[in-house]
Subunit: 343 residues, 4 copies
Amino acid sequence: MGYRVAVAGASGYAGGELLRLLLGHPEFEIGTLTAGSNAGSRLGEHHPHLVPLADRVLAETTVATLAGHDVVFLALPHGQSAALAAQLPAETLVVDCGADFRLADAAEWERYYGGTHAGTWPYGLPELPGARDALRGARRIAVPGCYPTVVTLALVPAFAARLAYPDDVVVVAASGTSGAGRSPKPNLLGSEVMGAMTAYGVGGVHRHTPEIIQNLSAVAGEPVTVSFTPTLAPMPRGILATCTAKARPGVGHEQVRQAYEQAYADEPFVLVLPEGTWPTTAATLGANTVHVQVALDERAGRIISVAAEDNLTKGTAGGAIQSANLALGLPETLGLTTIGVAP
Amino acid sequence: MGYRVAVAGASGYAGGELLRLLLGHPEFEIGTLTAGSNAGSRLGEHHPHLVPLADRVLAETTVATLAGHDVVFLALPHGQSAALAAQLPAETLVVDCGADFRLADAAEWERYYGGTHAGTWPYGLPELPGARDALRGARRIAVPGCYPTVVTLALVPAFAARLAYPDDVVVVAASGTSGAGRSPKPNLLGSEVMGAMTAYGVGGVHRHTPEIIQNLSAVAGEPVTVSFTPTLAPMPRGILATCTAKARPGVGHEQVRQAYEQAYADEPFVLVLPEGTWPTTAATLGANTVHVQVALDERAGRIISVAAEDNLTKGTAGGAIQSANLALGLPETLGLTTIGVAP
Amino acid sequence: MGYRVAVAGASGYAGGELLRLLLGHPEFEIGTLTAGSNAGSRLGEHHPHLVPLADRVLAETTVATLAGHDVVFLALPHGQSAALAAQLPAETLVVDCGADFRLADAAEWERYYGGTHAGTWPYGLPELPGARDALRGARRIAVPGCYPTVVTLALVPAFAARLAYPDDVVVVAASGTSGAGRSPKPNLLGSEVMGAMTAYGVGGVHRHTPEIIQNLSAVAGEPVTVSFTPTLAPMPRGILATCTAKARPGVGHEQVRQAYEQAYADEPFVLVLPEGTWPTTAATLGANTVHVQVALDERAGRIISVAAEDNLTKGTAGGAIQSANLALGLPETLGLTTIGVAP
Amino acid sequence: MGYRVAVAGASGYAGGELLRLLLGHPEFEIGTLTAGSNAGSRLGEHHPHLVPLADRVLAETTVATLAGHDVVFLALPHGQSAALAAQLPAETLVVDCGADFRLADAAEWERYYGGTHAGTWPYGLPELPGARDALRGARRIAVPGCYPTVVTLALVPAFAARLAYPDDVVVVAASGTSGAGRSPKPNLLGSEVMGAMTAYGVGGVHRHTPEIIQNLSAVAGEPVTVSFTPTLAPMPRGILATCTAKARPGVGHEQVRQAYEQAYADEPFVLVLPEGTWPTTAATLGANTVHVQVALDERAGRIISVAAEDNLTKGTAGGAIQSANLALGLPETLGLTTIGVAP
């Protein structure tokens, strides 16, 4: 196997999903696994589903433990990647699943995350125009947020084909609880989340908002205004994003449909569903896919694009591996699947 | 006890919730219970939680079985209420949980439901301006749909106080599965819905769309344009509706907040949450409440109102009883509660 | 209203359920609410479903804050009740939802809980033979554990009628997650529990084991051997207990059925289901009921009794209020219901 | 690819899981897919997660459509396999996921299934003593039931090592809803099953009872008595089985533990967990594994073995492919994984 891989933050959900996918990747050999407060414990305590790695002991997350690998995946809390990455060799491929290097605008970074802006790395959403060129050969990759991945892909065709006005995008998305991470908080207890839909981060304050704006503005070629509301759904995985934009005058059903079908005709991981069927997160579970469907509500004058993904797979770990494949010159789809686990 | 009550459609979810609430209502005596294909069976087979009524046998749904009651609640498939109601005495209070008498516009009825428009009855949403006057003494009541109830209440203050433009309302709502009824369909199986968020009725085609438009337009005093997208969430009960409208220029946070707090200050069943907390459907389970919170996203220029209800309680059976209380001159809150069942 | 009531541990799940029921109880006035680390916060932050109490501020749990009430409900971690109760007046009714005063055998207490045995109080399971006499007029009550309540009631008729041998009871029970409390632990996160059944406390080590043995042995009049295995189910509330005991020779189906029907014919909260129907926890949600069904497996020689309850209602808070009603000379069923909330 | 494979009953849950696994199997080429009432429809309508097969059209299930394949997997309702299999060539490998050929005793068949006993085929549980020999080169395979797979594997070591008495096995198992199939029935609706544990098939009447008895009796070398109670859990997939047997005198903890560890030391798909950890179905989701843990309850005198599996994978489709691999002389683990999908 060609590449020796370390995973920092291996006991969390993103780390676990990275390992699940790496175990099935023919070109990656799993090297050191690290953790913060879980350092010293067996991986099997945290991820009993990762049977072949059950007896691996987690090291501390340090430059020393991560050194000596060809690829380092960082699945760390926001703000911890920059310092580590600065000390890793330039030729090591560092793939950051955190937010540190996603935003180009320092003011946006400070507004939503606080602290000093670390800069930007090539953005790991290959389906964005121009992204593949930036990723090929890259040695630093910023993996997109889980919401920005699915929301951006749901709306790219509408803006790329100039079907929608940029000034009034409205997005409401429902996420499974793994998106909130594994730190135990009362509001994430099973007793609280089962049987309940809950709003949070309302009013444009969610940290993924500027990232969505950045992506859509780049595609539209002009600033895009986005109202983004995330909600928490009673399921472990999955995001369903309902994304709407005002249709330009004269835009018709067929035109919208064609724009979406053409935009993703050659994409291995974005599926425009047949007419009459609508996405369900269940069909994407464990797969590196985004399922999209689109409608034109002529009465309301809006394009409604609904998209589903697995927040841990295409939304985090799968997207990270897809970009890493590109960076290393491997086939982009290697070790990834379009086949979900259902029911 | 004062009033003898019949429930048609008692074996379904709306019928069961009506009975659950009627059992705790001090002025209603439960008379005949009827069903369609379940006629002849014990109620306990369908609603094992309704212990005191377990041995009641379901009669056929006919004019004869429903006659002789002071109040008749109809929890029937759309289109079956009109013929029955026409043959019930004018002095009988008939409360229709179906859609037959909700829409004023015959063209809208035909477009969304098909068939002949039956007319309108007083609309059972007491919190709407003017609604209580129409309901007092009424002998026919059209209970609102579950989505229109929560969406309307989420947006009334914004339109009543002229804070929002009427031309671009966007609503995305997530409903528990009981909203889809009890007829067994493959896509409603537990295996399909658990762990999954699914879109349906996208593009303005859901039947509750014209009802939402009707309500908001009445409050705004001008036609309101609504893009409404329902989604199915993995929970038995509850709706969380994210409702957004474009803010008029100069509208500020305090103004929005005051409008909402004032609008519902005297409403027993609509709760504007304290700042910093957001609605969860869990807090409304089994209660006749709508929990609302509102934010102004200044950057996106939108008012974001998020509201939660129990689709079977305030969204159907509780709302029906609230209106029936008004019609009969009873205290509006009799037999209803603001206390949910959680966790 | 006659009695002023304090609740210690009001921000937890048992405390919340006590308050939900107390709000509907005509003879109890809710006085001071206390908490540990949540002291100083609004109750609405913890229990948004308890709308009428949302603005109550939680006091510290001390003798001073609890004094001056007619009734004090303690919903505290095990081991904290004894010291508090010792300082409350003898005429105050103290109802302990914890384990401190449940076990008569000091050795059992030390083996399963550690520390010093505090003694016993009248045991709050009125359906046990002789229990009502002990509870009437009592001023100290030990509320049973959630598992012992449902398991005991599932097996009492088999032992009271001498249908079963005492030497080999096997019980497997599945509980919703609220039974594990509200302290955030990684294994109780929604992401972990949704979609998963998990074993825990296997091999007779669960703390409710000696309590089950104590109850069944008292009914059988001889020592009963119990193998008890609890499991965690992906739901917030509810316990389904499958309880089996070896049938004595010659015991037949009708005899078993009659024993169960007769045992509970006059019990307001224990329901023996009609033949052919089996308990579901859903039918007991929020109700103070135990639903029981029993079968004789002649081939295996075992009586199989399956029972469902809501662990927070009949299993904790409802049972506590039922016993408090008895102690105070109120009707036993006051403020309690047999009607569940479903679906 | 070496073998052309047909799947009969492809639109059901077992059929879908077979296809999910076959898509990842390097030696199987997916040929004809058939269905009953769903014949003529696209596979994507039923299994949107199986993206590469979405446009396949389902044929009728007939001898003609199934002919011409090297391997035929039958995922049909019980009783339909025998007639079909009789007309397929003797050299075709026919793998029956139904019950038709599982039971050796005609009287047992008639008692539990009714109708005429079709006979027996080699039993597809390779981990049973002697099973691999029977499966190698076989051209007809009876895949075990989902419950018998996990229950048998949980208890084999106890009986093979003569640690347990055969006369009083008690098993309680909780299954996800996919085990009940995809035919829409009211009691399987999401609204009914979410938030609820429900008993069914109590008293030794479940059809998997004689199969469990047959397996354990073969291992024990004498008739084993089993009390088996299945319950329905609110999750799509997974079985957690709590299996207990009376320990023979003198049997100790270490002896039990060693028996289990040795029994499965070389098994690729049965994992005895480290001491102190207990199985969760979540860790087996989508994997071909059974996770087992065992305790000796000395006080109750019982060995308690708890095991988890995915009912659709190791419990049906994965087990079927494992046995097919053996029959065809392929590596037994080909196309199967020990890695689950979690959280």
